[in-house]
Structures are given as structure tokens and as C-alpha cells.
């Protein structure tokens, strides 16, 4: 029996489910094996002890932790207090605890969006009655105006290019800039405005070509990132955007208040949360933050640190003298770049020479002047 049929039952076409049911009814051996797998699945369910009370607690806990404490009643807050130890245990036992919270947070964000979209600004009974004639004229003008706007909008939308990455994918924009998209990232741009990109969801690394005008602008649901020529990573959801700068310079501003701009220097990070100004720039480990790109970014780090990363990634040994090891380096290493090429480039930059001692060992020493 294919295990896939059991695990992915809910996605099987109806006729496949029907055939399997018939097989199960007619073939006892088949049914026994099926039940064995089913028992394991059920045992797992019991092992994790998924209780409906836990689901309720997780919802209340997420509300409390994500700025929605005010929506909880005093009874609910008390309930959370009473189950504090249990929640602590859950967070330690469940590997997926952060994802469970993230999913609930996304539910909350979606609710906020639909609430904004579907809540009228005034109630019907409070509206003042206008004379019928004025109504007719206003309605007619509105229809004509809406028609014109809609036509323009549809024309504009028709030409929009939207890309959803199913795997890590590099996209070349019409102006020559490049974007590396993490799986599930969603991006859109209009060919007539190639320096203005809408980054809707996920993680992406932008490598923007230097050009004085127009500035390259990435628009996320909550922020604008304006650049002139640079490499930076962006991670966005519908309510928050995180920007990490690897090279060059960018300005980040919230969409609701574009005047509240901050400027990032290489190696710095900021975050814009809905309706908030950007957080002050702070230094982060860009190698780690941008590791998902497959590229290695280093900004003003000691050579020894870069060497350690290379040794781990390539399984080689690189010997450097102590003085050289303290030299500060700034480097960007492409994914799958051969180690020999990287070491040669490093040596050239540092004015050092390379010796290959065996297949996996290299030595970097300062050239004698």
C-alpha cells in the first residue's frame, strides 16, 4: 500500500478514495497494513496530546504577546496566568511552537485587513437625506468618474508583472537590477516603471544597479525602501518589513508617514511595523541574516571569522598568520563559488600569497615587501 495514500488522503481525488475504500473492504491484508499506519498516526496525535483547551490558550497567548492584550477579558487574562506553566511547557516541548504562534498572528492580521476593508465609515441611519435631484446628478457623475478610473486602473493592472517564487529564484528587472527571491516570495512591477517594485510578501535580496535618477524604490505593505545602488535584503509580511543592508546605502520610511525616514549603513538592520516609525538602525550579523540567499556577506569582520565560515562551508583548512587574521575584511561571496577562487581573491585583496599544502589545506601569508 502506498504510504502517500494514507498521509495525503485529504488531497486524493474522490475516485481514488473510493477505489481505496473498496480495496480496504475486500482485502483484509491491505486493511491490516492500513490500520497499522493509522495506529502510528493516532499514537502520534495522542503523544502530542493536542487538546482543544490548548488551542484556545494558544490563541489567547498569541493575542497577549502581539499587542492585543486589550482584547482579552479579565477572565481570559486570569486563565492565561493560571496556565502559564503549561504554556511554558508547550513552548519547550513543541518544536513548532513559534510557527503555531506565527500562524495565529497571521490570522489576526488577516482579520484586521478585512475589518478595515469591510467596515463602512458611517451608518445608514445617520446619513442626511439629500434632495432626489442632487442625488441623481451626483450618482451619474460618480458612475462616469468610476468608469474612467476603473478603465485606467484595469489598463495599468493588465500590464503589471507579478512573480511568485516556487523555489529560490533570481529575477532580472527591466533596468538590469536583480532580485533573488526566497521560496513563496511575491513581487510585482510595472514594465513602464522598472525602478519601482512592489514587494508583497516573503524574503528577497535586491542587487540594484547604480543610477542617479530615478531612485529605485521597493514598496512593501508598510514601508518604502529607497536606494541608489546597493545590495540589501528585505523580509515582509502584510504588517511588518525588515531590511538588512549588505552594501551601499538605503533610506527606509513608513508608508503612512514617508517623512519619518532613516538611513541604513552597511551591516545595519531596521524594521517597520504597521503605523510605527522605523526602528533605529542597529548592527546585525549580515552573514547570518542573509544566509538564505546562498551567498556569504561580510562587512568589516576580522579575516579569522570569514576563514571559519569558509572552513565550515567548504570542509577545508585555511591557515593564516595571527597578524593577518586580525585584518578587517568586507566581502561578498557568490553561492557555489570554488574555494580556490575565493582564496585567490582574498589573497589579492589582502596582499597575501597562497600556498596549497594538500587537496584540502591552504596557507595565507603576508607577502614580504
Amino acid at each position: 500500500m502506498p504510504l502517500e495514500d494514507l498521509l495525503f488522503w485529504e488531497e486524493l481525488p474522490e475516485d481514488r478514495q473510493r477505489t481505496l475504500r473498496e480495496q480496504l473492504a475486500q482485502d483484509p491484508e491491505f486493511a491490516t497494513r492500513w490500520r497499522a499506519w493509522n495506529r502510528l498516526w493516532n499514537a502520534l496525535y495522542h503523544h502530542l496530546n493536542v487538546r482543544s483547551e490548548d488551542r484556545r490558550l494558544l490563541i489567547l497567548y498569541t493575542l497577549q504577546k502581539t499587542g492585543y492584550r486589550h482584547v482579552l477579558t479579565p477572565e481570559e487574562l486570569e486563565e492565561l496566568r493560571q496556565h502559564e506553566t503549561h504554556l511554558q511547557n508547550l513552548s519547550e516541548q513543541l518544536e513548532a511552537f513559534p510557527q503555531l504562534l506565527a500562524s495565529i498572528q497571521r490570522d489576526i492580521e488577516t482579520f484586521e485587513e478585512v475589518w478595515k476593508l469591510h467596515t463602512p465609515t458611517s451608518l445608514r441611519h445617520t446619513r442626511r437625506r439629500l434632495p432626489v435631484r442632487i442625488w441623481h446628478i451626483a450618482a451619474l457623475s460618480l458612475i462616469v468618474l468610476m468608469g474612467v478610473l476603473m478603465w485606467n486602473y484595469l489598463q495599468y493592472r493588465q500590464d503589471f508583472v507579478e512573480i511568485v517564487a516556487s523555489e529560490r529564484q533570481t529575477v532580472s528587472l527591466p533596468d538590469g537590477s536583480q532580485v533573488i527571491l526566497h521560496p513563496t516570495a511575491r513581487i510585482a512591477y510595472h514594465p513602464e516603471y522598472p525602478r519601482r517594485v512592489r514587494f508583497l510578501e516573503g524574503k528577497a535580496l535586491f542587487e540594484v544597479l547604480t543610477r542617479p535618477q530615478p531612485a529605485f524604490v521597493v514598496q512593501t505593505p508598510v514601508a518604502y525602501v529607497t536606494v541608489t545602488g546597493t545590495t540589501f535584503g528585505v523580509e515582509t509580511s502584510e504588517s511588518a518589513t525588515r531590511v538588512v543592508l549588505a552594501r551601499g546605502r538605503v533610506q527606509v520610511s513608513p508608508r503612512h508617514k514617508p517623512e519619518e525616514t532613516i538611513t541604513l549603513e552597511p551591516g545595519q538592520f531596521t524594521e517597520v511595523v504597521e503605523d510605527q516609525p522605523p526602528t533605529p538602525p542597529r548592527r546585525v550579523d549580515i552573514t547570518r541574516e542573509l544566509a538564505w540567499t546562498g551567498m556569504l556577506f561580510f562587512h568589516q569582520v576580522p579575516l579569522s571569522r570569514l576563514i571559519r565560515t569558509l572552513e565550515d562551508r567548504y570542509g577545508v583548512r585555511i591557515l593564516v598568520d595571527e597578524q593577518l587574521a586580525q585584518e578587517e575584511v568586507t566581502a561578498t561571496l557568490e553561492a557555489e563559488q570554488p574555494i580556490e577562487e575565493i582564496i585567490q581573491a582574498l589573497a589579492l585583496t589582502l596582499g597575501a600569497k597562497v600556498e596549497q599544502l594538500d587537496a584540502r589545506t591552504f596557507r595565507l601569508t603576508r607577502k614580504e615587501s
Binding site: N42, L48, L123, E167
Partner: protein, 187 residues
């Protein structure tokens, strides 16, 4: 619509104003429909049921709402609880005992030893595989798990299949080991 207006509407409903009630529930129906359509786009046939059940929750809870200006918070929680009831499997049709998606019944007997073995087997899985199994058992569909872990649905399914095969293999090995020891002690 600001909080004062919500309060006004709720107070009118409490005073028996049927028009206010219709207006509120029509509005909430549209809103909840949009919410569930966005959250579970892969099960459009269930949206009606989810909306109706959430409205029922709201209808039943409205008289107990102490602060009428908190209607939004009340609706938010009702929608979240209903959505997680869906993940729990409340909306799953239970056709035959063979359906593996059927939510297991609480209280099934499992020996302590079997639980220990299962815990051992779970611990031998990679953290990533454990994470996926946990999310699946919490009721998330594979597409949602892939989105939460920023990977593809295919990769998630492959991990689940491998993890289940590995766990079954380990559990069988431990079972055989125990039987061997018991036989050895008997002779």
C-alpha cells in the same frame, strides 16, 4: 465605523431593535466570509458553514458582552476560535473508519511503554521533521505548513513520508528487541 458607533448598534440590538440586528449581522457576514475565504482558500465549500457557526457564536455571546465598544475584539476571537475548530478537524466528514484524516478519539489506550518508545522515536527525528509532524497533527494543511516554514509543499510532504517511515522502522526494531529479550529470559 468607530467604537462608539459599534456600541450604539449593540445597545440598539439589546433594546430589541431588529433592524440594527439585521444590519450588524449582514455586515459581519460579509466580513467573516472575506476572512475565511482568505485563510482557507483551499476549502471554499466550508466557508458558509464557518461563517454561520461564527455568527452563531457571536449571537449567543452578544447578551453577555459587558462592554459593547469591544465588539471588534469579540468578533476577532469568535473568528479565531472557529478557524481553529476547523484545523482541529471539526469540519471533517467522517465517512468510514478507514479515513485516516478522522480525528482520533481521546482516551484510546496506549501503554506507557509504547508512549516512551514513541517519544524516543520522535526525538530521533530532525527538528525540522518534528516541526512538520507537529503542525500536521495540529491540523494545518500541507500548503499552510509549507508557507509557515518557507518551503515548498512537495518538500513538506517528502519530510512527512520519510519521518513516518523512519519512526515505524525504529518502533518495529525496538519491539523486536524487546521480544528477543523476553524470549531470552524465558529460556
Amino acid at each position: 465605523m468607530d467604537e462608539t458607533r459599534w456600541s450604539e448598534l449593540v445597545l440598539r440590538i439589546r433594546a430589541g431593535d431588529r433592524a440594527a440586528e439585521n444590519e450588524l449581522f449582514q455586515h459581519l457576514e460579509r466580513l467573516l466570509r472575506a476572512f475565511f475565504q482568505r485563510r482557507i482558500p483551499y476549502r471554499p465549500e466550508l466557508v458558509d458553514d464557518l461563517v454561520q457557526n461564527t455568527l452563531l457564536r457571536i449571537h449567543q455571546g452578544l447578551p453577555q458582552l459587558r462592554r459593547p465598544d469591544r465588539l471588534k475584539a469579540f468578533v476577532l476571537k469568535a473568528a479565531l476560535f472557529e478557524l481553529h475548530d476547523f484545523y482541529r478537524g471539526r469540519y471533517q466528514p467522517k465517512e468510514t473508519s478507514y479515513d485516516p484524516v478522522e480525528t482520533p478519539v481521546q482516551g484510546d489506550t496506549h501503554t506507557e511503554a509504547a508512549q516512551l518508545d514513541l517519544e524516543k522515536a520522535m526525538k530521533r527525528l530532525s527538528p525540522h521533521a518534528r516541526k512538520i509532524l507537529e503542525l500536521k497533527i495540529y491540523g494545518y494543511p500541507y500548503a499552510e505548513i509549507a508557507r509557515l516554514l518557507q518551503t515548498t509543499e512537495g518538500a513538506v510532504k517528502m519530510q512527512v513520508k520519510r519521518a513516518m517511515e523512519q519512526m515505524r522502522k525504529w518502533l518495529l526494531l525496538w519491539l523486536l528487541g524487546t521480544m528477543y529479550v523476553l524470549l531470552f529470559l524465558q529460556h
